[in-house]
Symmetry: C2
Subunit: 721 residues, 2 copies
């Protein structure tokens, strides 16, 4: 099939929608649906509407037998259930009898149903049945879905999603992205489907719903895909003006203007600052002061004159100079009035620590607060948060404890508990952090705003986010796509089993279980999804230490054959490609290892080898440009004790770094307790190393690869899926 020029007849669609709108209908009839998709160049079978058995016979003969008959009634949505569908009618007599049967069935099903007639449709029965559809997702807006029709999609839920509109490349990635993709390539002698034609149909449908966002749900089910084209056999469309609503958005410039003042404030007011230990307003003051923040700190408290040696003010209005940030440490009910004053003062950000808003059901108060903030151009962080940290400014605007290990990792959490886990893990692992932010109820500032700030922040190299939902998934996806091309974005999406509150009314809707949509779209956006909290933290800690690999060739060098096998398993789990070692390289490795060792991959240097064997093989792995990453498996022996191994690895890696050769190196250490200290030594020197696990180092390397691939930063060939 030659993909047709994509010129769309928007007026035809408009006319249909206006008519449906005038009728107050929320669904289109089959012929209307067909008109709409045909206006966007999507093929449908030959068909016509018959209002009598004779008309049906005449139409059938004109279209060509065999045909399918389907009831047309605005009151009957589930045609099969109503006995309103008959297939495989091969003669005029069968068509005539079929017409009568369908009318009788429909009347029996719903006596007062308005019956328009019976659709007579060309029966296409060679090809692959697929489903293409769109829904209006509550998080991501218009998404397009693709899957194999029939039992595969219904029983195995083998379906994939992308944001609409989509381009041809993305549409092709959908066709290739389902588990049963091989079926469309033709198995057991079946004809392959024409992937270009299918992709074209997906693009057209996604353009249609983008142009007409009131098309809430569209099911093309089935689409019959042959080797030459794709035909939408059945079209079902639901319309809903609400589906066209767009969330409120700020421009990148607006976001950066506010966020820069919030993250790097010249002055901070603490609303509800207190001298009394145990009070949140006291903790916040202490953490600002003790954390080493160098800007102005203004305690606001109507009853105090001085708090922690700082002059206190009755109201923010009394503060002499400008104020960038106001941290609220007062009960929820006092927030609106104080926020008014803060707004008048021209503050950029209101940090709403207090709870008692949306999370306790008090949505009105939260909306009131947002309205006040909007009126004054104040951005709100929170409410219901622990606060935030920005280490380059020694800023700990929180009631927790200060954090001072500076580094390139920015983290955010939607939950306070998870924020505390981030803090504890960071401190325990001495993870270098640029920022930790609690977003809480996300009444205003959300992950999108944070991503935009961290993108431009020279102190941040990686962004790791815990989230339970996205306020505007579409905007997040767009921002994440842009940011992740430069800096890894890791997301822990909690609440994977939340299927959403809305009962599904279409096939595609039923398939759009919230998590599958999240999964596909986050991947499409270049986001690395962490399977759990600990993974989020370990990825955040390890990924910035590893250089970006130049290609897919991973080599395992191990002193323990058993670790080599487990490390290989972990490579498969993490979709890493174990390099096939070419003969000359194999020979080069062999020169360093005992005759009963195994070259190949893993390179098994065998236990009991001296430090030089580790050193020589690792140096070879670093020097050969065909090798892109190394995974080391260490086995504790008397000949090469743990710290000797750790130091030689640090040395040899540093040697090559000095020569400008940077490759990711990760290590798994198997041995007695001394391997814990050795792992720490390695980690401190940029080699991601763990004791007692073969899985963790490979998982971190795998996450680095996932990011590098999605960001297009990998020099070598992409692995096949």
């Amino acid at each position: 099939m030659v993909v047709k020029d994509r010129s769309y007849d928007r007026e035809a669609v408009r006319r249909v929608l206006d008519r449906a709108g005038a009728d107050g209908r929320s669904s289109l009839t089959a012929p209307e649906g067909r008109l709409v998709v045909e206006a966007y160049g999507i093929a449908t079978p030959g068909e016509g509407l018959a209002t009598s058995a004779d008309e049906a016979v005449a139409l059938a003969e004109q279209i060509g037998l065999p045909v399918v008959l389907k009831i047309v009634s605005p009151d009957i949505l589930h045609k099969t259930e109503a006995g309103g569908v008959l297939v495989g009618l091969r003669t005029g007599a069968e068509v005539a009898a079929g017409f009568d049967t369908i009318i009788a069935n429909a009347t029996a099903y719903k006596a007062d149903a308005k019956i328009i007639g019976v659709q007579v449709q060309q029966q296409l029965d060679v090809g692959h049945e697929v489903i293409v559809g769109t829904v209006t997702d509550r998080t991501f807006g218009k998404v397009v879905a693709f899957g194999l029709g029939g039992v595969l999609v219904e029983v195995l839920k083998d379906v994939t999603f992308r944001l609409a509109p989509t381009d041809t490349k993305t549409a092709l990635s959908m066709i290739d992205g389902i588990a049963s993709a091989e079926i469309l390539r033709g198995v057991r002698g079946a004809e392959p489907a024409n992937q270009e034609a299918l992709a074209d149909l997906i693009v057209r449908l996604s353009d249609l719903v983008t142009d007409f966002p009131e098309l809430a749900e569209v099911d093309l089910n089935p689409v019959l895909a042959t080797s030459t084209g794709a035909t939408a056999v059945d079209v079902r469309i639901l319309v809903d003006p609400a589906a066209a609503q767009q969330p409120e958005q700020f421009t990148t410039e607006e976001i950066l203007a506010s966020m820069s003042r919030i993250m790097r404030p010249a002055s901070i007011a603490v609303i509800g600052a207190s001298a009394e230990a145990g009070k949140i307003g006291n903790s916040v003051m202490k953490n600002l002061v003790n954390g080493g923040y160098q800007g102005e700190i203004y305690p606001i408290n109507p009853k105090a004159t001085e708090i922690l040696d700082r002059k206190a003010f009755r109201s923010i209005a009394d503060v002499p100079g400008p104020v960038d940030v106001a941290v609220f440490a007062i009960p929820a009910k006092f927030v609106p009035a104080a926020l008014e004053e803060v707004g008048v003062k021209g503050v950029a950000g209101a940090i709403l620590i207090p709870s008692g808003f949306g999370e306790t059901g008090n949505h009105e108060l939260q909306e009131e607060v947002v309205a006040i903030a909007r009126r004054h151009g104040v951005r709100i962080l929170g409410p219901n948060i622990y606060g935030y940290y920005y280490t380059p400014e020694n800023l700990s605007a929180t009631f927790c404890t200060p954090y001072d290990v500076k580094g390139g990792v920015a983290l955010s959490s939607q939950s306070g508990g998870i924020g505390m886990a981030i803090l504890g893990f960071s401190r325990s692992a001495r993870m270098g952090v640029s920022s930790i932010v609690g977003v809480g109820n996300k009444a205003d500032i959300d992950e999108d705003d944070l991503l935009t700030f961290f993108e431009s922040d020279p102190n941040t190299q990686l962004i790791a986010m815990h989230l339970e939902d996205l306020k505007d998934g579409r905007s997040f996806a767009r921002t994440a796509k842009r940011v992740s091309a430069k800096k890894p974005v890791i997301v822990l999406k909690a609440g994977r089993t939340d299927q959403g509150a809305k009962a599904a009314s279409s096939h595609t809707g039923a398939l759009a279980g919230n998590d599958k949509v999240y999964d596909d779209i986050l991947r499409q956006s270049g986001v690395i999804r962490a399977p759990g909290l600990n993974d989020l933290l370990e990825y955040a800690r390890g990924i910035p230490l590893l250089p970006t690999p130049q290609g897919e060739n991973v080599v395992i060098i191990t002193g323990a054959g058993g670790s080599g096998v487990l490390l290989s398993d972990a490579c498969v789990d993490n979709k890493l490609s174990l390099m096939e070692i070419p003969p000359d390289l194999d020979e080069a490795f062999r020169a360093f290892i005992p005759p009963f060792g195994a070259a190949g991959n893993p390179v098994d240097i065998t236990g009991g080898e001296p430090p030089s064997t580790y050193r020589n093989t690792i140096a070879l792995g670093l020097s050969d440009p065909r090798i892109h990453s190394l995974i080391l498996g260490y086995w504790h022996t008397i000949v090469t004790p743990p710290m000797v191994f750790a130091e030689l690895v640090v040395d040899v890696v540093a040697e090559f770094r000095a020569k400008g050769i940077h490759k990711p190196v990760v290590a798994s250490l198997a041995g007695d307790v001394e391997v814990e200290q050795a792992s720490e030594h390695l980690y401190r020197h940029g080699i991601v190393a763990y004791p007692y696990t073969t899985e963790k180092p490979v998982a971190v390397l795998g996450a680095k690869y996932r990011w590098a691939r999605a960001a297009g930063l990998l020099g070598g060939a992409q692995p096949s899926r």
Copy 2:
């Protein structure tokens, strides 16, 4: 369908196999295959063999049209490829023409093919196509496979395996155990398959290959499953006398007699004992002596008179009393001669530490050593191992370091590196261990022998094994099934991607990727499979501490809503059932938590609550008999600091234990670094607790549940799959 009485016509099968054997054939013809399965009561379609077009027409009319034609030739195995299959022949003329086409195609495909004729077969075209087959797995022997036919099994590899023979219950679990099981229950108006009839067919096939083990591979593909019965449409059988071979086996009594002497020896000889530090023979002596072993220790060294204050002997023959165990610390080449002497002395176990046997390609030496051992009734541990530990006897027969934290966990590893990781982890976590055993090359003693010993060992409560293969998977499965009914058996199977060396020659064979067979059969045996090394170790450490749950009702009590969501996700991942809280219980929880907290499950007590709220809700969870397990989510606050939380949990759990109420309690601690100490305190008191992760505590609880369910120890209802 009424399942027929299972009386089998063994003579009919014998006759077919004898004929094939006499011809020296490795495959049966289609009619032979049909005879064989029919002799075991498996239905096949009406059919006959035609040697001319006329005969074909006559047969087709007798059987009933439409029919399928298939070439019958011992030289053509892949009939479709040879153009030797035609389907849907509806008239006599089509059958006659079809006959000629098939003969012509077959001749063109292979000019010298011996053509027996053309099979004329009734065409059955309503029902579900499934595949039932058996293969002779190199690890497990006869296994039976079940999957949906066509693309599902080919593209999605949706297939399941069990050991043959199988019973009806197990066969039903196969039908229910594939991902696409729902399809067989009838979706989109399709008729359901008769599961009893299908299960009956599976049982019959598994009986057939059990009775005639020379049937190396049997494919029934497709089997047509309808609502009334199941018919094997195509039968393909490969025969191989080698497939009937049985591995060597010891009786349980023989194993226990040897293993008891090996694990609890009264005396140990060290062959190659040395006074020279750094030598393996010196390390072994030191570890035996310093580890506190109280039995006799006899150093054997032809050149020494005393080693570590023990009288040395030139040869084990010179040792005055009996010797139970000989630890070999001499080079491989000296092992045979020394083993002869050890055998003459009547030693029960030879612990072969040296490498240089099968693992370096020296299979002859390994076989020689096994032959010597068999001759003398000596069991061999190893070769190529670090040795073994048995803490109840203070026995550290190893060149590593002694281990003395006694407890109920027995571990084994096939690799020395993994053994060292076990040792290091155990020491670091202070895990109570009964035994650590290196099995290395497994020339003789394998996991089966260890399981049998640990089963009867009162000091062992749980067995955790790292393995790369099984010498006799069938025997392991049988033993594990028996042992795991009493004690949890955890297995880390390394080498998941090893597809086996043997090229597959049948459909079922091609599907029997080694790991899927391992996975299904280990599960069938009640074994808990650990996904990675760290999981193996954490499961081993945690599972014995948790009481066996009395039912499936799990309740999460959390101070951090965010942890609650992640803990719920982890419950789904680990197939745990979050209890639906009945109204009265909901009300009881609500009495303890703030009005804006959430009852339900998770019970969200909200952050900032005092210790009493944790205590009251946990006490309620322990006291209500409808709740079977608790997962706690702690959020670090000033009001309830980490150690306060840990101590109150230990207290309240102890209080209920004193009343005879034992429920598993696990905890995830989110907070600053103090949560590490709090987690340790909890762990030491039997509450499996971790900082900075919501995944690990739930994974350990999930593993405990998997074991309890498989062992039939769960009081409550089983969860649906």
